[in-house]
Amino acid sequence: MGFLSVVANGLSMGAIYGLIALGLTLIFGIMKIINFAQGALLMVSMMISYWLWVATGLSPYILVLIVAPLMFLMGYFSERFLIKPVIDAQKDVREPVSVLLLTAAFAIVLENLCLMLFGADYVMAQTSFSSQTLALGSVTVSAARFYGLIIALVVAFLFYMFLQYSQTGRNLRATGQDRNAAALMGIDVTKTYAIAFGIGTALLAVAAVALIPFYYVHPSVGAVFMTKAFIVVVLGGLGSVPGAILGGIIIGLIESVAAQYMTATLTAMLVYLVFLVVLFIKPTGIFGSPYEW
């Protein structure tokens, strides 16, 4: 019975890791950019969600209707005015690392900006369900985490359908597979890139509202999830949506279950060990395939 609680917790945390990794995997899959600002953008989403929650008192889950479009615009325009000029400038360079450095710098700017604006204090949204638990039979799960699991699964499913069946989704996938061919077929690649970055950032807003009822917000909170998001993405296969969710759940389960048999410090090492083993056996990750999109 205790064991089922452990599994339930692993599942819900894992799904949230997966949700955070979704944006990363999308941006990589389409733009071939490793976005180091992902953690910082998550932090910004959490900050905005938290302060909106303080100002309005609405449930954080409703606030996603404001935060997600806001973050989409932020992602869209930072691609337009920050990333695109650098991509264009390095068009003919074989290994364009400038974009990678740019996203890292962007992260530093965002973190310090928030440090200036909001200070270094830790804050947490004490919602009505923050300390509640759901008892499903003998299994106890934190309510906020359980809602997080449902949100992650629903959003991942909707996102997958969107990629598969909508015109924008098809444009995105086509650009990801071969941007020159896509451009020749009449797809506006510049706009598609901006949309990809915007959606990748908006997904973080969803993760943010799922997190703030039970996790603290702080200018450096991005770093806590950033490393995990990278592992999740590589484990599941760079560019794969189901891979991100599955990778997240695997990491969540390892953390939760293994911690019952060893110390939490060793568990953190085990995560990396599994990661290494997967890379040895299948370097492209579980769902990884160059033709995924």
Binding site: V6, M13, S131, E255, Q260, T265
Partner: protein, 421 residues
């Protein structure tokens, strides 16, 4: 005649010249005497970087004490000499701390050093002072080793880290007897840093000696994304007492998760750090009710002059003191007492005066009834209090509950942990 006159004039000029020189010297001697009326001391604090707010409050506490001492007539045995503090910034970095100590001693020529918040900075910077044979008054750093290296010029006002773990053990034993709740097992949850490891070493020494069995030893990486696995493990092993070492983010996460999973040992006991952070309550909310924490001073502690001084500090700077600020403040009074008895700024005389300290009156009472150092320079009676998060008039407060003599008047200990309502 004209010739002789000329010689006279020459002599006169020479005389005037010599006289003015002597006068000049006299004047110089005068300023020297002025300088002796000011006793220059140096303090190393983290005034920039992430620990800057902690350094700032330490500086403010010192300034307030020095102002008071000077206004009351300075050091009377030295013709009312005034205290003057030179602050230098360690940035919280050990290497910078060493350079700053060197600079304060050789360039500023301070008579003694104080500081320096972090134990990591105190360790190497006290070595510099020992080498120059300049007294170093360590007011806040608590790492055991600071006074265990056989140094002659180091005196520490703060408690040793391990004393807190010892006090926690004594507290458990006493409560177990008082409330007739048999306590057999203890679970330890701590971040896997030098701080956490140090606490565990001390616990492993004191807990089994008190007949308590450690059934769970769980280190976790600081700033974890999820501590539910650790909490679930504690739920399964079900120790009578859960003791924790955490910074504020993990402390809040642990507290909330314990509440979620409805873990109910006889008591939760924190080890200062995150549990003493003012943001801890904001993060953990009502989940922290009835959690214990350990410290050396609390705003409500029942000690002479404590309330008045804290009130004055609040008026002056806009926020309350904390245990570290109190140590910094009281430290200045211990130094003033030492200078008074030494009646000199010579390092050797100062050192002897420090060693002979036996302070039983004045503002130092807000920290300890008796300030005294042993042969290693360690303050013998460093006080330790235990407080409990309790709701007072609907508001969560840290209520000092132990030891009895220093507890908030009218307060009651909640033991065993009743669970969350």
């Amino acid at each position: 005649m004209r010739f002789r006159n000329k010689r006279y004039i020459g002599l006169l000029v020479a005389l005037v010249f010599v006289l003015s020189l002597v006068a000049g010297c006299g004047g110089g001697g005068g300023t020297d005497k002025e300088a002796a009326k000011e006793i220059k001391m140096g303090t190393i604090l983290p005034l920039s970087g992430s620990a800057a707010p902690l350094g700032k409050i330490g500086q403010e506490a010192r300034d307030m004490a020095i102002e008071e001492i000077n206004a009351a007539g300075g050091i009377k045995s030295m013709d009312g000499a005034k205290l003057k503090m030179v602050y230098s910034d360690s940035k919280g970095d050990p290497a910078t701390g060493v350079t700053e100590a060197e600079k304060l001693i050789t360039q500023e020529e301070v008579v003694l050093l104080t500081g320096c918040y972090q134990s990591g900075v105190a360790m190497p910077s006290t070595e510099v002072a020992e080498r120059y044979q300049i007294p170093y008054f360590v007011d806040v750093p608590s790492e055991d080793k600071i006074t265990e290296r056989g140094f002659k010029y180091i005196f520490r006002l703060a408690e040793k880290t391990s004393w807190r773990n010892k006090a926690q053990t004594e507290f458990i034993t006493e409560m177990s007897k008082k409330y007739n709740t048999p306590i057999k097992t203890v679970g330890l949850i701590y971040e896997n840093t030098a701080w956490g490891q140090g606490a565990v070493t001390a616990w492993e020494k004191y807990l089994p000696a008190a007949g308590l069995q450690i059934v769970m030893k769980e280190p976790y990486p600081a700033n974890s994304s999820d501590l539910t696995p650790v909490v679930l493990k504690a739920k399964q092993l079900n120790p009578d007492i859960i003791m924790m070492v955490s910074y504020v983010s993990d402390a809040a996460l642990l507290t909330k998760t314990f509440a979620e999973q409805k873990v109910t040992p006889k008591a939760f006991i924190g080890t200062s750090g995150g549990f003493a952070d003012p943001t801890y309550y904001n993060l953990a909310g009502d989940a922290c009710e009835n959690f214990f924490d350990i410290s050396t001073w609390e705003p409500d502690v029942n000690r002479p002059t404590s309330k008045e001084t804290n009130e004055k500090f609040k008026q002056k700077y806009g926020y309350a003191m904390n245990a570290e600020a109190v140590k910094a403040y009281v430290g200045m009074y211990v130094i003033a007492d030492t200078l008074e008895r030494a009646a000199s700024t010579e390092p050797e005389k100062l050192r002897e005066a420090f060693a002979a300290t036996d302070l039983k009156s004045g503002p130092a009472q807000m920290y300890a009834a008796e300030t005294k150092f042993d042969e290693t320079g360690q303050m013998v009676n460093a006080p330790i209090v235990i407080c409990q998060y309790q709701k007072v008039n609907g508001k969560m407060e840290r209520v000092t509950v132990y030891p009895q003599a220093e507890a908030r008047p009218g307060s009651q200990i909640v033991w065993p942990y009743p669970g969350l309502k």
